[in-house]
């Protein structure tokens, strides 16, 4: 179970309003993407949910509990894989659970196998390619016990081919292990391909500009990106983003 509600949250840095009265919600086992121009405050929103920052006003509820300024309530995947170089891949993917005192070796090994990382348990992150590192980082956040996963532009540092691979892989993993995911991206196609809902943020200060429910059926096929519907959706969201600039 995981549902997130963000209610009227505002945050400013030295007088500059980054978020203003922002409200949004993610229901259980839902995949929600946030798209918005860069600098619009998407990462800031994650820092608020993760408890690194406290909102100036408003509330953040996770499963009905208020988590303003409370750390460790979500599982997180940043843009850079952030694997600890001195740990083996296996020790790395167990880190999220280890921090909360719930380590599960068997589960970690089987999850690594699903990610195509078997045989790399005892390898160090240095020995992995960019895509493999991101998969390891994703598994680490899957294995973390917190029910809500927050992914902040996880694929934006990858090359185009790896990125497409990773999207499909992520989707298959998610369809098998349904978790609530809040996914930040600035790539419209990525958001359309992956999400149940897409939230478009405006910038300066960030507010919810539009909230689309994406009707493509699941399990989603790769071919969906070539369909006419997909193109229409892409246009709609592109328009939303363009009106702002």
């Amino acid at each position: 179970m995981a549902d997130l509600s963000i209610i009227d949250v505002s945050k400013s840095f030295s007088g500059r309003h980054v978020l203003e009265n922002l409200s949004l919600s993610v229901s259980d086992a839902e995949f929600v993407s946030i798209v918005g121009p860069s600098g619009s405050g998407k990462s800031t929103l994650f820092h608020l949910i993760g408890g690194l920052l406290e909102p100036d006003s408003g509330d953040i509820y996770l499963d009905g509990k208020r988590v303003n300024g409370k750390r460790g309530a979500i599982s997180y995947m940043p843009q850079s894989p952030s694997l600890l170089p001195w740990r083996t891949v296996l020790e790395n993917v167990m880190l999220g659970g280890e921090l909360l005192g719930e380590k599960n070796r068997e589960e970690a090994i089987s999850m690594m196998a699903k990610a195509g990382l078997s045989g790399y348990e005892e390898a160090y992150p240095d020995q992995l390619s960019g895509g493999m590192k991101q998969r390891a980082a994703f598994i680490r956040s899957m294995l973390s016990p917190q029910p809500l996963m927050c992914l902040d532009e996880p694929f934006s540092a990858l090359d185009e081919f790896t990125r497409l691979d990773m999207q499909q892989w992520l989707l298959s993993m998610w369809e098998e292990h349904r978790r609530s995911i809040l996914f930040v991206t600035h790539n419209i196609e990525e958001a359309l391909f992956l999400s149940d809902r897409i939230i478009v943020l405006s910038s300066g200060p960030a507010q919810v500009k539009a909230d689309f429910t994406i009707p493509f059926p699941r399990p989603r096929k790769e071919s969906v990106v070539l369909s006419q519907d997909f193109l229409e959706w892409k246009k709609t969201i592109y328009q939303e983003l363009r009106v702002m600039t």
Partner: protein, 255 residues
């Protein structure tokens, strides 16, 4: 394999040096109290073993003890200063400054204050070990990657977890660089402290030898000081390689 290929160069250089030294000494007929030939030094090293072995062991003991105390205090101090940033800002510049005080100047003072026992000697070695290791470890902590720190915070790590899982492992390569410097310094510190007055030790052996113009013995002492430093260095590199396994092969640090 690469090491074997390039390793012969320094060895050849040393052999050449010894050869020139030996030949020059004989051709120019330099008296042995002025500069003994390598062969004479070697003979004295072999013949005098019984005479100096106790000196040698005593110095080894003193060095190890001083090194342990000095580096422990150094690491502990670095951890404290790291965890208390205000204290660090106050003390760090002073620490750097104090590294400029030549220990040889402090040594006679320590003898005045603490006498000729083992205490002033340990203090000298501790002082020379302390600074390199403390400064290196502190610098190591500061190399903590902001990305990793950010991830750990978002994942809910508390201060203690951040220290043990992130900052401490980050500082290890730097800490080992500090240990290598401290190791060499601690041998030097031990010998210097023995010059000031001791019953036993390579330093004592050296002083006695030079005052009786046994220059060959002085060289024997120098030889053993070098060997000690080298052995100590090798031990630390070996431990380092076991502890820091994640570094890519081929990017070994020297220094």
């Amino acid at each position: 394999m690469k090491r074997i290929k390039t390793g012969w160069r320094p060895v050849a250089a040393i052999l050449l040096l010894l050869l020139v030294w030996e030949v020059a000494g004989r051709v120019a007929e330099i008296p042995s109290w002025l500069l003994p030939a390598p062969s004479q030094i070697w003979m004295e090293a072999v013949a005098g073993w019984e005479d100096y072995k106790l000196h040698l062991f005593s110095t080894i003991q003193l060095t190890l003890l001083g090194f342990l105390i000095g580096t422990s205090i150094g690491i502990a101090a670095a951890v404290c200063l790291h965890l208390l940033p205000k204290l660090r800002q106050t003390i760090y510049p002073l620490m750097i400054l104090s590294q400029n005080i030549p220990i040889i100047v402090l040594a006679p003072l320590l003898v005045i204050w603490f006498g000729f026992g083992i205490l002033p000697k340990l203090i000298i070695i501790t002082l020379v070990c302390f600074f390199p290791i403390a400064v290196a470890t502190l610098d190591g902590f500061r190399q903590t990657s902001p990305d990793l720190l950010h991830y750990l915070k978002m994942a809910g790590a508390d201060k203690r977890q951040i220290f043990w899982k992130l900052e401490w492992p980050t500082s290890l390569p730097s800490l080992f660089s500090g240990l290598k410097i401290s190791a060499t310094y601690s041998v030097m510190g031990a010998v210097i402290s023995e010059w000031l007055g001791a019953q036993q030790g390579i330093g004592v052996y050296m002083t006695l030898a030079s005052s009786s113009f046994r220059t060959d013995r002085v060289f024997v002492a120098i030889f053993f000081i070098m060997v000690l430093c080298l052995l100590f260095f090798i031990v630390i590199i070996t431990i380092e390689k076991r502890v820091i396994r994640w570094k890519k092969k081929g990017v070994e640090q020297h220094g």
